[in-house]
Symmetry: C2
């Protein structure tokens, strides 16, 4: 199978290293698209996408560019040119879910194992489960940067801004960290996991998302005093035609499995009718783990071992009728009066049990830019 790799940075170079070191002859890198002339190392390198998309010898395009454009256009054109595509680009994929429709129409594969949980065999496990089981929910710690930050806040007692600056210096967090710390990255991954678990296309913009950007020493102290740690969790549940999906910090018990996943590791959980709860843990990012997941997709393509996709993929709105109990710290508690179960101090409280939908509506109405919210989780 002849492939082209688009982009040769952290992920793209991981892919070519693994293929060159480990694969048999079944996968050959025919072309590598780069942006600048000084990145061109041998005659496989090119600056011109046309030489890839118009090359009928190339069976699969591996998109490792990141970002929305031109990645999105290149992937769309590759699918339209009857090429299989492998991509790790969760942001682009979650924003353009119709690419999965195009792949289906064209009878080619769009494989995205590396887009959620890095190297962890997560999406492939969901697809295999789907063949004879009914997945009811997925949830996970899906972002290594925020998990690294939260782990340091709890283990070292430093404050959030110091931990973030330090992570940026070390290259563990981006210069503009908002996609990570505000939960957008987790939202994209929740959206893609829901697609694979439930065959639902959910508009990522409609998934309520709360990050850790406003976390404060008081929140940490409350968690610690109650035998808990805070983790940023993406979650989707689909039962009886109703969909719950949201991204939110969770106050998890300190002896739970989620609590023990520290540093930049990820954990993904599925709950299904027959298998019950299954958890997958590992490195959620990095050149070789992500490269490994991409090469796994390529091996499946080369050996014609891709699980069949669903007959139909359905568009679905988020219902969020699920009830929960939440920790809230805000500028003015007045607006929450009817929801308060237990005051912690002048700014923070635990809610009565309430629907996620109602809580989100209330918070949107109040428009408090400094609010921090987390769900009290008991499993």
């Amino acid at each position: 199978m002849k492939i082209a790799i688009l982009g040769h940075g952290v992920v793209g170079s991981g892919v070519s290293k693994i293929i060159e070191e480990s694969c048999s002859d079944e996968i050959t890198i025919a072309k590598i698209l780069v942006r600048y002339e000084n990145e061109m190392k041998d005659d496989r390198f090119t600056l011109d996408y046309e030489t890839i998309v118009n090359n009928t010898d190339i069976d699969a395009v591996v998109e490792c560019m990141g970002g929305d454009e031109p990645a999105h256009t290149y992937v769309r054109r590759a699918l339209e040119a009857d090429k299989n595509v492998v991509s790790a680009n969760k942001k682009m994929l979650a924003r353009h879910l119709d690419l999965f429709d195009i792949a289906k129409e064209k009878g080619v594969k769009l494989l995205v194992e590396a887009s959620v949980g890095g190297g962890i065999p997560w999406l492939v496990s969901l697809r295999k489960m789907r063949r004879d089981d009914h997945i009811r929910q997925i949830a996970g710690i899906m972002n290594g940067t925020t998990n690294y930050l939260l782990s340091r806040l709890f283990s070292e007692g430093i404050n959030f801004n110091d931990a973030l600056s330090n992570a940026q210096e070390l290259g563990y967090a981006e210069r503009d960290p908002s996609d990570d710390i505000c939960g957008h990255d987790v939202r994209y991954k929740t959206c893609l996991s829901a697609l694979k678990a439930f065959d639902l296309i959910v508009d990522e913009k409609k998934i309520p998302t709360f990050g850790i950007e406003n976390i404060d020493d008081k929140d940490i102290a409350y968690a610690r005093d109650n035998g808990r740690v805070i983790k940023l969790i993406g979650r989707a549940e689909y039962m009886d035609g109703k969909l719950n999906a949201y991204v939110m910090p969770g106050f998890v018990k300190k002896d739970s499995l989620f609590a023990s996943v520290s540093s930049n590791n990820n954990i993904l959980m599925s709950e299904s009718k027959y298998l019950g709860k299954a958890y997958f843990v590992g490195q959620g990012a990095g050149s070789l783990p992500t490269g490994h997941a991409i090469v796994q997709d390529l091996e499946d393509l080369a050996n014609d071992m891709v699980d069949e996709e669903a007959e139909t993929i359905t568009r679905k709105d988020v219902d969020n009728e699920k009830e929960g109990t939440f920790y809230i710290r805000c500028s003015d508690m007045e607006g929450f009066n009817d929801m308060i179960d237990k005051k912690i101090d002048d700014q923070s409280f635990i809610t009565k049990r309430c629907k996620v939908y109602d809580l989100v509506k209330k918070i949107e109405g109040l428009n408090d830019e400094k609010i921090f919210i987390g769900e009290i989780l008991d499993d």
Copy 2:
């Protein structure tokens, strides 16, 4: 694909329930072998294996009988009759690893996903990893009964014998619990995991095995005082042609991932060159989880999606040259004099760093029936 199920107890009835409720027409149960006439519910049921093994319409035999014989003979005859076989019977499989050779010679599949980690997609993940990665080690909590017992010892402070009797009353432990508590069950699963991870056939009888049958309140207290819990761990490491493989209680840190896997859950870990460490957690036993894993194997067979096995499977002796540090409680410390690093009391001590091989030889020489040993683990 037409199948026959051998045995219709806990696992066999789980398999037929899942197939009947969830699978499309691609898997049909043609025959079900049972032992007694009063188990026969419809005309698919039979008491006679000959009607199955001689039936050329049957593509795959699902062995859910458990025990060594007649399961072993039935599986061997099915393979020799060119039928694919799916089995959850770790004891029988680990004792008759030549069955994998026979499957290879005959060009049929012997799929055993359910034999390790129950419903957790563990062996299939190892096989997929092997295509482009190099697995260096596997380790895990592979036995739900002992993990349930150990969890109770630590969370409730009851003693081992009371916990065991109680578990037997509840049906969580067998009347004769020795396969579980003495570590034999973990040894079978370690052996099968090593086969799938390294393509090595290791004689299960040569894998040193220490269980929890002699565990005592003092051992629990030492672990707790040092911020640890005890888990029964099977482990195999293969690097540079050397194999470490043993089953032994491990003293793991209480905030580690292994420590957080409680009750009857299992955790399986692989470490490989590109992916790094990946962990798989879930229910390691039970009718539906185990049935789920068997049906997954059947789906792979029906869709011709079984990963190719290794070209060659090599026989390998255990080296156990790896060094570690161990907790030992014994009747007479005299014999260990040259190995003691730190005495805890008159009967227990921590060893100097030593090779597993040397430690095992020493223990075998002393023949102390009441010895309890555990490895001090730092990851």
